[in-house]
């Protein structure tokens, strides 16, 4: 088990464009940490710095207490899985997995035992003699994983390993990766742009944007308490309201109406944000505090619910309503923003 520390990492490709800007990250022993963000946010670059493909222009990488910033890739002993799997096309599944062990000058019998063991764990025993092009996507993915794990790496680095699989297989592999990772207790960095995938698999999530980490925390923390507007938008908070603090837990919107929120933002002006699922449509009798009168602009059918786009005195809002009551465009309704669900950023 190893712990990883990234200390003030800067990366720029041509000396001008900064890809990573003073990035700090600490990954605990045996943790699975995801780097989540839109394309171009620097998540893959961060992984490549850890893997050793990129030497940062400044900053250090520590694994445990050992500085590894400039250790060549082939001396790091990190297991890697790429999005494209990058299997060796000229070698069979068995030989692909054996590749790393052969370089470690291991005794033949010992090597064979290890390979058979990992093939068994990854459910690949019957495909040992096949070549990569004879395998399905999910099988290739498992070979890539087996090949990375068999060398008993200090770290496991996964670069969008699931994005080439179809939805169902993705779900299975996700569980599989998590299971293997916990069983072997191996510290893992997982790069993804898919928030659902990321939340379900990670111990901690680092949400990245523009070369910096916007927020680092457990999936629960990030899901329920995004710290910045970017994080909130990225994980599905679609409604943003300009608020001004009037007194403890009370905020005034632009139209003068007052809202209460459970949380405190610590400054006089902030953005209140709430998920479309958390806004409730209420009748006039039920209407207490935090209510707004809204006119429905567009209705979209989502399957389990209807989505309404609303125009209100405090701005445009989006509501998902699964109650079964059906409204149509042009209707005027009352909505409530529960105080506990409003997040201030």
């Amino acid at each position: 088990m190893s712990k990883v520390t990234l200390n003030d990492i800067n990366v720029s490709y041509d000396g001008k464009t900064q890809i990573l800007k003073g990035l700090n990250l600490e990954i605990g022993e045996g943790e699975l940490v995801s780097l989540l963000g839109p394309s171009g946010c620097g998540k893959t670059t961060t992984l490549r710095v850890i893997a050793g493909f990129i030497i940062p222009s400044s900053g250090q990488l520590f694994v445990d207490t050992e500085e590894m910033t400039k250790v060549p890739v082939h001396k790091r002993n990190f297991g890697l899985v790429f999005q494209s799997y990058a299997l060796f096309p000229h070698l069979s599944v068995y030989e692909n997995v054996a590749f790393g062990l052969k370089l470690r000058k291991m005794e033949k019998a010992e090597m064979d035992r290890k390979i058979k063991e990992i093939l068994e764990v990854c459910d690949l025993t019957e495909y040992a003699l096949r070549f990569p092009k004879q395998l399905s996507g999910g099988q290739r993915q498992r070979v890539a994983l087996a090949r990375a794990l068999v060398i008993e790496p200090r770290l496991l680095l996964l670069d969008e390993p699931l994005s080439n699989l179809d939805a169902k297989l993705r779900l299975n592999m996700r569980v599989e990766i998590k299971r293997l990772q916990k069983k072997l207790g191996i510290t893992t960095v997982f790069v993804t742009h898919d928030q659902e995938e990321c939340f379900s698999i990670s111990d901690k999530v680092a949400v990245m944007n523009g070369g910096v980490i916007e927020q680092f925390g457990t999936p629960e923390e990030i899901y329920s308490r995004p710290k910045t507007e970017f994080v909130a938008r990225f994980i599905g908070f679609e409604n943003f309201i300009q608020l001004r603090k009037t007194q403890e837990n009370t905020y005034r919107a632009n139209d003068g109406s007052l809202f209460t929120a459970k949380m405190d933002c610590g400054k006089s002006e902030c953005l209140g944000t709430i998920r479309p699922d958390d806004i409730q449509i209420v009748t006039n009798e039920e209407a207490a505090g935090n209510t707004v009168t809204a006119k429905i602009e567009v209705r979209t059918y989502l399957g389990k619910s209807y989505q309404y786009e609303l125009s209100t005195p405090i701005g445009r809002l989006v509501v998902n309503d699964g109650s079964g009551a059906l409204y149509k465009a042009g209707d005027t309704i009352k909505i409530q923003l529960p105080a506990a669900k409003i997040v201030l950023v």
Binding site: A51, H74, I151
Partner: protein
């Protein structure tokens, strides 16, 4: 699919135009008449016997063959690393270098031959064999770089990176992972380079010395003095050899390897 009769006819016409001369040459090789003529007046193998009795053909073939092999091998030794560097590193002026390596295939052979003559023979005064070898090496190098380069570009770079993470140094990864996967490109490059060297006339003409003749120049020389079907017989032998090689390549790699 609907067959287009006109297109079929047109294709036949083009193929006929391409292959008829070859077929006629092949037939004339067996003619008893002492000059190349068609239709033939009788059937004989004597011109084939004459090929093997003509010293300039035998020594020419030997020279051309050796020259093509050695020049191609050197071109591979130089060209494969060059192609690798061009495909993997962001060398400054990469595009310029690529077109530069293509240039010998665009510049007329006679110009290349003449400039090599100026430089190698007149300026450096190198012995004939060395001069020929350098000339042929330079002629075939672009083919190697282009063909191997395109094979490398189709090869996923991340596979190589993966080898590094598993413990391969860069050189080791090249031999263990890259080379086995571009082998068909290398064979294709070898074939193209070999054929180009073997066929080359302009460079050989300028760089040949007294008593040193490649097969194509020996053929040209022969035709100047004799117009008998021996030349046809040589052509038939060369065609047969080419077909045989192509057959082997097709069986082992698939002909696609040459056109990729």
């Amino acid at each position: 699919m609907r067959k287009n009769k006109f297109l079929t006819f047109y294709a036949c016409l083009v193929f006929g135009f391409l292959f008829l001369p070859l077929a006629i040459i092949a037939v004339t090789a067996f003619n008893t008449a002492p000059t190349i003529s068609f239709p033939i007046s009788g059937f004989t193998f004597k011109w084939f016997a004459n090929v093997f009795a003509t010293k300039s053909f035998l020594s020419g073939f030997q020279l051309s063959f050796m020259l093509a092999i050695v020049a191609t091998l050197i071109a591979l030794l130089v060209g494969v690393p060059a192609a690798y560097a061009l495909s993997r590193n962001s060398v400054r002026g990469k595009k310029l270098l690529k077109s530069f390596f293509l240039s010998p295939t665009i510049i007329p052979g006679i110009v290349v031959g003449y400039s090599l003559y100026q430089f190698i023979v007149l300026k450096l005064k190198l012995p004939v064999m060395q001069g020929l070898l350098i000339g042929h090496f330079l002629v075939v190098l672009p083919y190697v770089i282009r063909v191997v380069g395109s094979a490398l570009e189709q090869f996923d770079f991340s596979i190589e990176e993966m080898a590094w993470t598993l413990g391969c140094g860069k050189a080791q990864a090249f031999f263990k992972v890259v080379l086995p996967n571009i082998s068909s490109g290398i064979v294709a490059a070898f074939m193209l380079a070999f054929i180009n060297s073997f066929n080359n006339i302009p460079v050989s003409m300028f760089l040949s010395g007294p008593g040193v003749r490649t097969l194509p120049t020996a053929l040209m020389n022969y035709i100047e003095y004799f117009y008998d079907p021996t030349v046809s017989a040589v052509s038939v032998l060369l065609m047969a050899a080419t077909i045989a090689i192509m057959f082997v390549v097709e069986k082992t790699l698939g002909i696609g390897a040459l056109t990729k």
